[in-house]
């Protein structure tokens, strides 16, 4: 946390804060070049220069504050998400692009609330639930989060090992190297370093954009996919299941816990909320871009082919275009790694908050021993599960992730809305009426669809053939 404060202070010393405009009686800023220079060409130049400096300083502050929003949103396209998008593209082509575009603002709206909550209360989501709703709901949320995250972490390892198997790297090597890398990342003792390294992996996640351009899609048809339509080629059951899977991968419980804890660890203050919102909005745009471009890749080259996983899709794509298939495999590994980094931290932060351990990434190894130990156990046990379990067990794990996440998501969302409406806690940052209407609509729809998704995952034939 101290690191975050230092960063902001150094920015102020270098003169990187926005100049406070002095307002005169006519509404114009007194320090604006307008007043003294009139409308001459010099005035225009000075005005342009003033705007440019202001924009540049805002951008510099944003670059300091950027991180949690982009990381959580890009990591949202984890190994499971990449599989969902490849299946969506190979089954329905470009037809469901509109749905993913629609999910962007929804994800932004939900995540933006965690920015406000974290910046105002300086508490993670788990601690906030314990404090506001008592021990029963606190323990239930924490236990469910830990279990969901551990199971999801297993699916990330499945994705990473499958991706690197395409390049002939054995799963054991992948798991060991990933565990060492992730431990080193957390043990470096600086939030700032951790964040910037993770942002590099976020940039790598954009690999699907050049891949999509390389497959030469029919861009008119791609744009046509942005117009809402419901393709019924595979039956209603399969369509509803895939729509719900896309929702499940875009809005996940760990994201709420992760971003709020991340905002707290970074040391963001209420005045930084606009930058946090901008960060989240940019992240939401990136997550939609990745999803859409991946659908373009698989919708162009694999339409109509049976695809069950992203690794399968990468192999099939290599047959069509070797470079594109390789890029998809690299993207899958990157997505799994990003997901693993964020999910393991979401749980460790939550446990650290509740048990009162030192749990900042800025904490020393000695001070945060419990936090680091929990993180290590979570990581190694999930990696080991992938190595020792049979394929049958891993399929059951993948199924139960969806169902258990569904039990946590409505709870986390409802608690988030209630906390954001608590004036005592949030003060002027509480939700306004419009935000509540949107929030209530989103949460109701997600709860209904999540429940339907869980039922469909457990009873596949209920809505017809799922495909």
């Amino acid at each position: 946390m101290a690191e975050g404060k230092d960063i902001k202070q150094s920015a102020t010393i270098k003169g990187d804060t926005l100049p406070a405009p002095i307002h005169s009686s006519n509404g114009l800023a007194a320090n604006s070049p307008n007043k003294t220079m009139g409308k001459s060409s010099l005035s225009l130049g000075a005005r342009f220069y003033y705007r440019y400096r202001k924009l540049w300083k805002t951008l510099k502050i944003y670059l300091i504050m950027a991180g949690p929003g982009i990381i959580v949103m890009v990591a949202d396209n984890d190994a499971g998400g990449i599989t969902t998008y490849t299946v969506t593209g190979s089954t329905y082509g470009y037809n469901l692009i509109w749905f993913l575009i629609l999910l962007g603002p929804i994800a932004y709206f939900v995540q933006e609330m965690t920015v406000r909550l974290g910046a105002v209360t300086k508490r993670g989501h788990a601690e906030a639930i314990f404090d506001a709703f008592g021990a029963f709901w606190g323990w239930f949320s924490l236990g469910d989060l830990a279990l969901t995250d551990w199971l999801t972490l297993i699916t990330e390892f499945i994705g990473m090992t499958a991706a690197l198997s395409i390049f002939g790297i054995p799963p054991l090597i992948t798991v060991v190297l990933v565990c060492i890398f992730m431990m080193a990342l957390v043990l470096n003792g600086k939030y700032w370093t951790w964040e910037k390294i993770v942002l590099v992996f976020c940039v790598l996640n954009l690999i699907y954009i050049p891949a999509a351009i390389m497959v030469h899609p029919d861009w008119d048809r791609v744009l046509g996919g942005a117009i809402p339509n419901l393709p019924a080629s595979q039956g209603l059951g399969a369509l509803v299941f895939l729509l719900m899977a896309n929702i499940g991968t875009t809005i996940a419980p760990w994201m709420l816990f992760f971003q709020q804890s991340s905002v707290v660890d970074k040391g963001m203050k209420p005045k930084d909320i606009p930058f946090g919102k901008m960060d989240t909005a940019i992240g939401a745009i990136l997550t939609v871009l990745v999803a859409v471009f991946l659908i373009v890749v698989t919708g162009t080259l694999l339409l109509g082919q049976p695809v069950n996983s992203a690794a399968e899709a990468a192999i099939a794509l290599q047959r069509e275009n070797n470079l594109v298939g390789t890029m998809v495999a690299i993207g899958l590994f990157d997505a799994g790694l990003l997901g693993a980094i964020c999910i393991s931290l979401a749980s460790s932060w939550a446990i650290g908050e509740v048990f009162g351990w030192a749990h900042s990434l800025n904490s020393s190894r000695k001070a945060a021993r419990g936090f680091h130990l929990f993180y290590f156990i979570l990581l190694v046990s999930a990696g080991a599960m992938v190595l020792i379990s049979s394929q049958h067990v891993l399929v059951i794990v993948t199924l139960f992730v969806q169902v258990i996440a569904v039990t946590l998501l409505p709870m986390a969302l409802v608690f988030l809305l209630l906390l954001l409406n608590n004036e005592q806690l949030m003060g002027k940052y509480k939700n306004n009426r419009l935000q509540n209407i949107i929030g209530f609509s989103i949460v109701s729809a997600i709860i209904l669809l999540s429940l339907l998704y869980a039922i469909t995952a457990m009873f596949p034939g209920l809505l017809g053939e799922v495909g």
């Binding site: 709703f133 021990a135 606190g138 409505p410 869980a454 039922i455």
Partner: protein, 66 residues
């Protein structure tokens, strides 16, 4: 004698491990949020939702085994 000492140590070790859970439960026993009608209704609906989900899970588990 040695057996008794071992059992005593085990009991102390276990109580040390359980104590943080007891302390946290005690610390957060009372919800701090103002219990308005909306909060009460939301928590009640969440309880129903959880019962429904758990019932579905148990049903699936039982029918799978059967």
């Amino acid at each position: 004698m040695v057996e008794g000492r071992k059992r005593g140590r085990l009991r102390i070790w276990l109580s040390n491990k359980v104590q943080p859970f007891v302390d946290i439960t005690r610390k957060y026993r009372q919800p701090k949020i103002k219990m308005t009608r909306i909060v009460r209704i939301a928590l009640l609906l969440l309880r129903f939702y959880l019962i429904l989900i758990i019932a579905i899970l148990v049903f699936k588990f039982v029918t799978s085994i059967g």
